[in-house]
């Protein structure tokens, strides 16, 4: 971490020159670079300085690649401006589930400590090609299993709006880093809500694209039929631009199909003629009343913009959580069989034979929640239980898909709160796995059906962010982002968390 002091000094000078990263969107970064007002190195140094200033309080990063980021920024500055692509020199941070060639990628697990991928994930290669600057790797729940980022083997990330609370998860580092202005935007991954729920809890925009819109090559696999990579950003326009950068068919992921049309720049100003279905099952009795109050104000804003809102009952969604906790652990137990101490990562020392090496490596390398899910999945797939659990869950999935398809025959979009509650206290749900699993109640059915879902900052309850979830039909990202943009302009919610003030208050206690 040497050199951070030097860059901090540099950024102080920059701040005096008016470069306050807490005010910057990715589009603003792009404009500053295009006009020549700042260089890529100056911009990168400003973010590194911000990280140095607030990371002690937030703990979003597992690795800050200062040298790599500055070298990449220098290479951008060395190119004539007219030869650069539009996003060249704009910094970004990546969830530590994405492989970056030559940079340690751990998935926040001891079993992958020290793993240095020999290749880039496809999304990383695309961003590299576009000239983005990688600031570092972000904390997460181990192997993306969790809803609070407390399952990281390495550190606990704190919510930038209240340092005693969780940022959500599993992409908690991604959401916290954007809320704390440590990067203009970030990539996360979403298997049951892992982009949208932390985006909601940290008050930023998070989008899970349609299954297949983005290549999963180089994303460490959790549940392959549900996983999808997506953007976390301060604004809908930034999220749209980042989606455009990463989406596309990839021969290396046979489930990827890309998007049918370019996302473009969201610019819709009203919602006239659009019908929104409010999912009844995610209302009273499921969500905190304060969350529902904020949600109600978002509904009023949608109606004020000319959108039509009415309640719709989707009873099969109530089975989503149970189906998910069969399907996701089953796929995980199979995917995580590859961690055996042979080809990469941790190997337990001093083992006498191969079986002992497998068992000790896995038992010492995986954390409690990962083991719990491997056990559930192995149980559900084991002889005699397959039909009762796995096949039944996949049939339930069919019912959920049908119910969404019917609803989209009547509505353009479906809406609900993203998370039933605001950010909870660190430690509050650790002892009760089922309580933790309920954090993803409203987001899970969207993954089961492979739909795009977006969490938009809707306001605050008890000073903590509340997210509005907007769900669209398959491959409707362009329309979804345009609708979200109109709502975002109407709500005008603050997205920059007051981390420095909170950290100072904490220091004075």
């Amino acid at each position: 971490m040497t050199g951070l002091t030097e860059s901090a000094d540099c950024a102080v000078q920059q701040n005096q020159g008016g470069l306050d990263v807490t005010k910057l969107t990715a589009f603003a970064c792009r404009e500053l670079l295009a006009s020549g007002e700042v260089s890529a190195v100056e911009l990168t140094r400003a973010y590194l300085a911000r990280i140095a200033a607030v990371e002690g309080a937030v703990q979003a990063f597992l690795l800050v690649d200062e040298a790599g980021a500055l070298a990449a920024a220098q290479a951008v500055d060395a190119k004539p401006r007219q030869e650069r692509g539009p996003w060249e020199g704009v910094p970004i941070a990546l969830k530590d589930i994405l492989c970056v060639k030559g940079v340690e990628t751990t998935c926040a697990s001891r079993i992958l400590k020290g793993y240095v991928p020999p290749y880039d994930a496809t999304v990383v290669a695309r961003l590299r090609q576009a000239g983005l600057i990688f600031l570092g790797k972000l904390n997460m729940d181990e192997f993306a299993m969790g809803s609070s980022t407390e399952n990281s083997a390495f550190k606990v990330t704190r919510n930038p709006w209240d340092l005693e609370r969780v940022p959500g998860g599993s992409s908690g580092g991604s959401a916290a880093c954007v809320a704390a202005s440590e990067a203009p935007w970030a990539l996360g991954s979403d298997t049951g809500g892992s982009i949208r729920q932390p985006a909601s809890l940290c008050g930023v925009v998070g989008l899970k694209p349609t299954y297949g819109a983005v290549s999963r090559y180089g994303l460490v696999a959790f549940a392959s039929s549900l996983d999808q990579i997506g953007p976390l950003a301060r604004t809908v326009r930034d999220a749209a631009a980042l989606l455009e950068l990463i989406a596309g068919r990839d021969p290396r992921d046979s489930t990827s199909v890309g998007l049918p049309e370019p996302v473009g720049l969201p610019e819709r100003e009203d919602l006239k003629g659009l019908k929104f279905g409010i999912i009844k099952e995610f209302g009273e009795g499921v969500c905190q009343s304060e969350v529902l109050e904020v949600f109600g104000r978002a509904v009023a804003a949608i109606e004020h913009l000319g959108g039509n809102c009415e309640e719709v009952s989707m009873p099969s969604l109530e089975r989503g959580l149970a189906a998910y906790y069969i399907i996701a652990p089953s796929e995980a137990s199979s995917n995580l069989a590859r961690f055996d101490g042979v080809r990469y990562g941790y190997r337990a020392p001093g083992c006498q034979d191969l079986y002992e090496m497998y068992v000790r490596t896995r038992s010492e390398g995986f954390g409690p929640e990962v083991k719990r899910r491997i056990m559930i999945g192995t149980y559900a797939l084991s002889a005699g239980y397959y039909d009762a659990y796995y096949a039944q869950a996949q049939r339930t999935r069919t019912l959920i898909i049908r119910e969404f398809a019917e609803a989209f025959g009547r509505y353009d979009f479906l809406i609900s709160p993203t998370s039933p509650t605001v950010a909870f206290r660190i430690g509050e749900r650790v002892a009760d796995p089922l309580a933790m699993y309920h954090s993803d109640l409203c987001t899970i059915p969207v993954n089961l059906a492979g739909l795009p879902g977006l969490s938009l900052p809707a306001g605050f309850a008890q000073g903590l962010p509340v997210g509005l979830q907007i769900i669209g039909p398959h491959f409707s990202e362009r329309r979804l982002l345009n609708a979200a943009y109109a709502i975002e302009q109407a709500l005008a919610v603050e997205v920059a968390a007051p981390v420095e003030r909170l950290a100072a208050e904490e220091a004075n206690l």
């Binding site: 021969p251 489930t255 149970a322 906790y325 069989a337 101490g341 042979v342 896995r362 039944q392």
Partner: protein, 93 residues
């Protein structure tokens, strides 16, 4: 909901081992989780086709052209024990 023997059997299948204390807690936790997911086994879903992928794709092909892959050195660089370009493991039991 799940017996001690079943937990131990599943652990063997999953190539995991647990301390006595962990086993007691796990049996309890898995019992609760399985109790919750058990609600599905009571549903009559006969005649409903299972979904394995939400976005159905059939026969995705790419041109069958040779591409350079990782070198042996790159492929083995992360191996805990590597000798002569190969992964070394303890003897099979």
């Amino acid at each position: 909901m799940i017996s001690r023997e079943e937990v131990e059997h599943v652990a063997r299948l999953a190539r995991l081992t647990f301390s006595e204390e962990e086993l007691v807690r796990l049996q309890q936790e898995l019992g609760k989780i399985i109790g919750y997911i058990n609600q599905l086994s009571q549903l009559d879903l006969s005649g409903v086709e299972p979904t394995f992928h939400a976005v159905r794709l059939i026969n995705v092909l790419r041109p069958d052209e040779p591409q350079p892959g990782l070198t042996q050195q790159e492929a083995t660089a992360n191996g805990p024990v590597v000798e002569a370009g190969q992964f070394v493991v303890p003897r099979i039991g």
